[in-house]
């Protein structure tokens, strides 16, 4: 079980796709859900979204950006190697419905990997979907083809203007809000991006879903590592989310909670890079 059947590199090799054998999970998974993976005995438990699932083949696909030790370790695994553990599907599936009006899906960075299955599901439910994806520059744009296929209209933005619109995803979001009858926005990406998107959609009074990438351990609601204030209440992202009403989320709290382990993460990543060089 949990053998890697396919491995692709994208976005200048900073992003990796793995198709993994996991028949039980593939059969149950719905858009918006995620898995927790552990590479080996000493590994950490890492949450990643189910970007695609194929129940007939009994496989799931994850797409992740290399940001630290664990994702770097995942990247080092070859086709034929196995993850020690894959647990899921976890989290609440996205509420997919036919919306009376336009759905706008906004993704930044690897948030696009999380956004893509949700976009596809809204499209499959018969919605009119406009998507906006962003990256720092052209070589880092990810899943453009897949997002194109899942949307009626796709806008690509780059911070440095090397491709598509020169500027932030919020520019194109504003354009859509001004010109279309937008009834739902789904915004997934780095915290500042989600925060700015929500500030903007609040002005337009348009419902906005965000997906929160909190730090997790078990993913089944037993530890509270993933807790976050939504409205006035504490919610657990792994069981109550990962999607929440973006207008209610305390993004400042999310930012500080995501930075909880900065020194340890750095230490682990440096150690891993050294070990890779010496072997």
């Amino acid at each position: 079980m949990f053998e890697i059947l396919r491995r692709e590199l994208m976005a200048d090799e900073s992003v990796v796709l793995n198709e993994i054998s996991a028949p039980l999970i593939a059969e149950k998974a719905q858009p918006g859900q995620f898995v927790i993976l552990r590479a080996n005995e000493t590994g950490e438990r890492i949450p990643l979204t189910l970007a695609e699932t194929n129940p007939t083949r009994g496989t799931i696909t994850i797409i992740y950006q290399v940001v630290g030790k664990s994702t770097a370790l995942f990247k080092s695994m070859k086709v034929g190697e196995k993850f020690m553990d894959v647990i899921g599907p976890l989290g609440r599936p996205t509420d997919i419905e036919k919306i009376d009006g336009e759905v706008v899906c906004v993704g930044g960075g690897t948030g696009v990997a999380v956004l893509y299955p949700i976009t596809q599901a809204f499209k499959d439910a018969g919605n009119n979907v406009t998507s906006v994806i962003g990256a720092r520059s052209k070589n880092l744009v990810m899943l453009e083809d897949r997002m194109q296929g899942a949307s009626d209209e796709l806008h690509v933005c780059t911070d440095d203007g090397s491709y598509g619109h020169h500027g932030f995803v919020t520019d194109m979001l504003k354009h859509a809000l001004d010109t279309k009858d937008v009834r739902l926005v789904v915004a997934i990406g780095p915290v500042p991006m989600m925060k700015f998107c929500c500030q903007m959609t609040a002005e337009y009074n348009v419902k906005t879903l965000v997906s929160l990438n909190t730090i997790m351990v078990d993913g089944t609601g037993m530890c509270g590592s993933c807790r976050i204030t939504v409205g006035k209440e504490t919610k657990f992202a792994c069981v109550d989310g990962p999607e929440f009403d973006g207008h209610q989320v305390d993004f400042n709290e999310l930012t500080s909670r995501l930075q909880a382990y900065c020194p340890e993460e750095k230490q682990a990543y440096e150690k891993f890079k050294c070990e890779c060089q010496s072997s």
Binding site: G88, V217, D218, G221, M222, T229, T255, A260, E264, A268
Partner: protein, 470 residues
């Protein structure tokens, strides 16, 4: 006779050797080192072999205590462990973690004048001796019945059911959400109190008997109970524990540096964060740690924090010493290791810095009033007594609740108002035909022996069901 009794009474309780407090508060090795055969036999000598042994009444599973102690006294260690196994499948664990002072030892007649027989230490000795020097011979197993049983959760309750039913010749599969088996024994109780090697050896024993373990399966998500029946299982036992952390619901509680005990201990024990960076999972290292609560979970968190390198660890508890629910041994160990106790103290809110990290806790001093419904005197705040405790790490250890992941996704299961599974206390039968439940998911967080005892009742009932029906 009288002379014999006198001789016995002249033997003092044999204390178990322990690691020195100043040494052990910096390592994760087990604290009590165990009896030698000589010490064990000497302690066993103290037992009066009462005709009407009161100790047995204190044992939730009714172990023949004088019976096994007599075997130890006679140097018949294999016979001793066999005697215990008749009633308890996890003696190496129970000998270490049972609250003996409230159970068997609390009722031992010797305790009236002197110290009670060290029943827990002797139970532990018998189990350890068997593990280290026993023949490893498997008990006789009934002929295969071809019947399949599913057990959900691999804590003490689930392991007991699995062990009982595999011996009856049934096929048993245990489904566990985590990547390792043992439940709280592996993710909650720390290495220095219950070495993980012991839990592993219990699991290995069950595997040798033929129990199948399916890890990484969250029942209610990956599979559901009705699907298990569809796959051909004839009975399902649910022993998923009380896996929901309780928070205090105080302002500032979501700041960085505030952990639930579940998270703190899971990172430390299951994920081996105390071996970071050799293991990848990190754990914040507080210098100035407060732990809120005074049960076993709180003591375990506090003592873990010390071993992680804290300079100062304080237990904050709103009632007084007499009400502290932890085992006396653990409170004593914690005190010896240098943990401070702030009793009759109740936190009211957390204070943080501009990075959203905890830096202190505002507390109120309390006094005890009238007894509440639990019979314990209710603490009430003393007006104007608010003060600040500085801290850079806080662990909330004030209890656990029922985790809804399985129960919410199981049809026709009756639950209590607080989300626990309704089950017959004598049989473990739930309101859903073919489904039994036991342990913390029925009673709320209790003890290892109560969970194991509930497992035993359920396995008897399942055995009857397979023979004669629901």
């Amino acid at each position: 006779m009288a002379e014999e009794k006198k001789k016995k009474e002249s033997i003092p309780r044999q204390e178990m050797p322990e690691q020195e407090p100043k040494v052990r508060n910096k390592n994760f090795d087990e604290v009590p080192l165990g009896y030698s055969p000589e010490l064990a036999r000497k302690e066993a000598e103290r037992c009066l072999q009462c005709k009407k042994p009161s100790c047995i009444q204190g044992c939730p599973v009714g172990i023949d205590i004088p019976g096994f102690i007599a075997h130890i006294r006679d140097g018949e260690f294999t016979k001793a462990i066999r005697k215990i196994w008749e009633k308890n499948s996890l003696p190496a664990v129970c000998g270490r973690v049972c609250p003996q002072e409230d159970q068997c030892e609390g009722l031992c007649v010797l305790g009236k004048k002197d110290k009670p027989v060290a029943i827990g230490h002797l139970e532990r000795f018998a189990a350890d001796y068997e593990r280290l020097y026993g023949s490893g011979e498997l008990p006789p197993q009934a002929a295969p019945t071809g019947k399949k049983i599913a057990v959900v959760g691999s804590g003490p309750a689930g392991l007991t059911v699995a062990g009982d039913l595999i011996l009856q010749g049934h096929e048993v599969t245990v489904y566990e959400a985590f990547h390792k088996g043992g439940g709280v024994l592996v993710y909650g109780i720390p290495e220095f109190r219950l070495p993980k090697e012991i839990v592993a050896s219990e699991l290995h024993y069950l595997e040798r008997l033929g129990v199948k373990f399916e890890y990484d399966v969250v029942v209610g998500k990956t599979l559901d109970v009705d699907e298990l029946f569809a796959q051909g299982f004839e009975a399902v036992f649910i022993g998923v524990g009380a896996g929901l952390p309780t928070f205090l619901n105080l302002p500032g509680e979501n700041m960085v540096g505030i952990y639930s005990a579940n998270e703190y201990l899971t990172r430390a024990n299951l994920m081996k964060a105390y071996l970071f960076p050799e293991y990848d999972t990190p754990l914040m290292q507080g210098k100035d740690v407060v732990v809120i609560g005074a049960g076993n979970v709180a003591m375990d968190s506090a003592r873990t924090a010390l071993r992680m390198g804290a300079d100062k660890v304080r237990i904050v508890y709103r009632r007084s010493e007499a009400e502290m629910p932890a085992r006396v041994d653990e409170i004593h160990h914690a005190e010896e290791e240098g943990i401070e106790f702030f009793l009759l103290t109740n936190p009211v809110r957390f204070l943080g810095d501009d990075q959203g990290r905890v830096k202190g806790m505002r507390c109120l001093q309390m006094e005890l009033g009238e007894p509440d419904e639990s019979g314990r005197r209710k603490p009430k705040p003393i007006e104007g007594s608010e003060f600040t405790l500085d801290c850079d790490l806080a662990v909330v250890a004030v209890g656990a609740g029922a985790n809804p992941v399985l129960t919410q996704n199981t049809k026709n299961m009756q639950l209590t108002k607080r989300g626990y599974v309704v089950a017959d206390p004598k049989t473990g039968k739930t309101m859903k035909p073919g489904v039994w439940a036991g342990g913390d998911i029925v009673t709320g967080q209790a003890t290892v022996i109560l969970a194991a005892g509930a497992g035993r009742l359920a396995s008897n009932s399942i055995q009857d069901y397979l023979a004669i029906g629901w």
